[in-house]
Symmetry: D2
Subunit: 269 residues, 4 copies
Amino acid sequence: MASTEVKKERSQVKIGPKQFPVGGRKIAMIAGPCAVENEDQIFRIAEAVRQAGGVGLRGGAYKPRTSPYSFQGLQEEGLKLLAEARKRTDLAVVTEVISVETVDLVCEYTDVLQIGARNMQHYALLEAVGKADKPVLLKRGLSSTLDEWLLAAEYIINAGNPNVILCERGIRTYEDYVRNTLPLAAVPALQARTHLPVLVDPSHGTGHAYLVPPMCRAAIAAGADGLIVECHNDPEHALSDGAQSITPQALLTLMGKLKRIAEAIGKEA
Amino acid sequence: MASTEVKKERSQVKIGPKQFPVGGRKIAMIAGPCAVENEDQIFRIAEAVRQAGGVGLRGGAYKPRTSPYSFQGLQEEGLKLLAEARKRTDLAVVTEVISVETVDLVCEYTDVLQIGARNMQHYALLEAVGKADKPVLLKRGLSSTLDEWLLAAEYIINAGNPNVILCERGIRTYEDYVRNTLPLAAVPALQARTHLPVLVDPSHGTGHAYLVPPMCRAAIAAGADGLIVECHNDPEHALSDGAQSITPQALLTLMGKLKRIAEAIGKEA
Amino acid sequence: MASTEVKKERSQVKIGPKQFPVGGRKIAMIAGPCAVENEDQIFRIAEAVRQAGGVGLRGGAYKPRTSPYSFQGLQEEGLKLLAEARKRTDLAVVTEVISVETVDLVCEYTDVLQIGARNMQHYALLEAVGKADKPVLLKRGLSSTLDEWLLAAEYIINAGNPNVILCERGIRTYEDYVRNTLPLAAVPALQARTHLPVLVDPSHGTGHAYLVPPMCRAAIAAGADGLIVECHNDPEHALSDGAQSITPQALLTLMGKLKRIAEAIGKEA
Amino acid sequence: MASTEVKKERSQVKIGPKQFPVGGRKIAMIAGPCAVENEDQIFRIAEAVRQAGGVGLRGGAYKPRTSPYSFQGLQEEGLKLLAEARKRTDLAVVTEVISVETVDLVCEYTDVLQIGARNMQHYALLEAVGKADKPVLLKRGLSSTLDEWLLAAEYIINAGNPNVILCERGIRTYEDYVRNTLPLAAVPALQARTHLPVLVDPSHGTGHAYLVPPMCRAAIAAGADGLIVECHNDPEHALSDGAQSITPQALLTLMGKLKRIAEAIGKEA
């Protein structure tokens, strides 16, 4: 059902208080910290994202962490802060859901349910968000193929939720100057196979702040429908992923360039 | 807690009615079909595994499938057949659990809870099996590192269950003559890092029946504590993974060679 | 000597009859067929490249082929056709050299010596082109690291030739919808490490004509100093690499967009 | 011509003063230092290899080095020492040839011409050794496919030399606990495709001495026709590859186990 053979025209998925259409002529910029840390942090960053022209605020309340001993997120407290940030800025809130049990709770506070790379083939969770009434941002699994990814989307759509946004976040290769290799050809390759919108995450896709702006520009030039970027007011003291977070100032500068690149290919930012 | 820095001597995990010690001097052969299909199939194969000298019977009742439209397994009916096969053969039953909700039910019928590659970082499930009183067979995730894998084991141990068996099942590479590339150096590399037993799955690790016996032999020669192998009485008509399943006759022949290889390196099979 | 630690300002390498500076403010577009096939073909394509605003003409006279039974190129006859095409268009001719023995001969006819991916660590050849008085376009080796690539450049520079242009052409991964995975983050990552100009080859980097224009746009947006693209007047009947060649018309359309993207990031095309 | 479709029975390639048949019932152990360093070193190691039951002495005289500033080998002086070591031990000498110009010289002193991974698609060199009257040991290229590798063998055979021995030395993956990932399934997969003998190099295939003995055992158990192993009398002070070299004592112990594993699968060592 995700296939262009079933539906030729590209899908738009509307997100947040302003029902911004992801997948249309206008590029969607979603930005925010890896993890919600406290009120001051999330409000400052949300305000910066709004000023830069972003349409969504990302922020983790439930963090899937490789080690059981790492910071696992503020959980419901984090969700509340995100909802409050939305009230102040009208940004769409995007946050990860990591277990079937918490889907309902996360739905109460958020606009878009994110499925992380680790959970792309966690089928019970895909079915649970497939029954929710919020759009789903589905990241590509670690080293999954395009087919496996589209079939994961199929689980969600098949369960009743057609509002799926795909998000490329890089694959694991031998390259050691990046955290992941970001294969941007996946963007046009997906667009030939599916009508679902395609975002790119250059933060996880590279792992280094200095590579994020060039790869954001490249993703838009390649035709991506939008971006999801880690942005932190104080990257050096971020509780997680500081090394790959850009500052609000860098986000603002970047948006200026993205606007012109979008225009160069007949879009807007 | 999985580290050799914490505990120097190698752990043994006892499985099944006969409490076979996985991780000891004797090689553990676990074999069986990808999916439990019907009574006749599972009883025939179980008997063949017993006769070949196997200690465990593998068989999927809940199948995590890439496509929502594929056969998803016999579910509880499959578990009952596995338990009946155990009664007849005294083999330890190993079956996959794919959701938090079904952990208790699977525990009723099985001896070893398998966590599949797709779920290696499904943390809610790791915690759930960490609270169960059955040993856990934890497969390496798709393209995970040894560290990520050991930290997944740490989630289980940290939740209260020290009986974790690791199982290498191959990584995704560019090689197209195999389904996955089976990196056997992981066996001695893991044994230098962790005291947990290490099995190898050459069926998923190669994807082709003709490659399974040589890679079983190689795994034992490399020092693996055992094997988990797909075996089917009628591979051509198997409901899943037929191409990588060996016949009961091939299993018997293989075991003869494994016995001699095990002896060559000071073990038994 | 390729390092930014040794020389901070970016290097420019001047190529062809018009001494076009690769590595400056203006994007270098080099295009042409995989192999020189005949007079009509190469003259038509050269003219199309010139009209599209290209600065270089690529075309293989000596083809390194995986199979000894494949077409190996027109050899000296091909070189003569390339030189004639240059006379007519003033484009810089870029052609591959595959053996030490033919370096002098190739130098007689061409403007830029290309070292292909297979020969990136063919050290005798690197030293031979290091002694030549023509600029060298050094492709990244199959699955080489950035360090290995820069050390290959070092062989050339160390032998006396500072005019090295790097060219990213993709790495081999498990991704099967492309011939290679094109890791564009290598562009800014290289620019942080070396002062040498960096081109991108999206033809080999994707293997499919429909992916070439989006990846050309992405490469320029990421900051590449130029592109090398396979272009053929009749891709379906090309003697090699037809599937990844774009038409002269597609090249013209592409150049229009590249111009605007280049401007968006403060460059020209 | 390398294909099992052309010739069903397995080929044997005879090497050295004693014309040892590689590819027969008896396992071929070739061992020695990465680089020939001096008389004392090469004679000591050659003697140890002979005592351990090896049939070949490896040792580099011309070293292809990633950096132009690294030790490049003793060159002709190294060849002379190898020839002298052969006279003392009757071992077959295996050494790498890295340029067309030196093929004749290397042929004067050595029994087997090694083509290294970097040169697997250096076609001029393949043709040159194809015209030589010595057997060729052809390593798998960095990240090459089996087909590309067999076609490289085809270049040699097509040029007139049918005596080609293949050598698997690992592929580059994301795995960071090894220098390369050693995909032993390539051994039976090759044996299904080609009649040429297949050796394995666990030294480059793992990069760590502690992983070499288990992977040697695994390679033989998988059916490899032999091994090529880096062995050094003083690994800590080796001029290159010390970390992956085993001691003469470790080689001796290993050979004892390999003998029994070979017997377990109907061969000898």
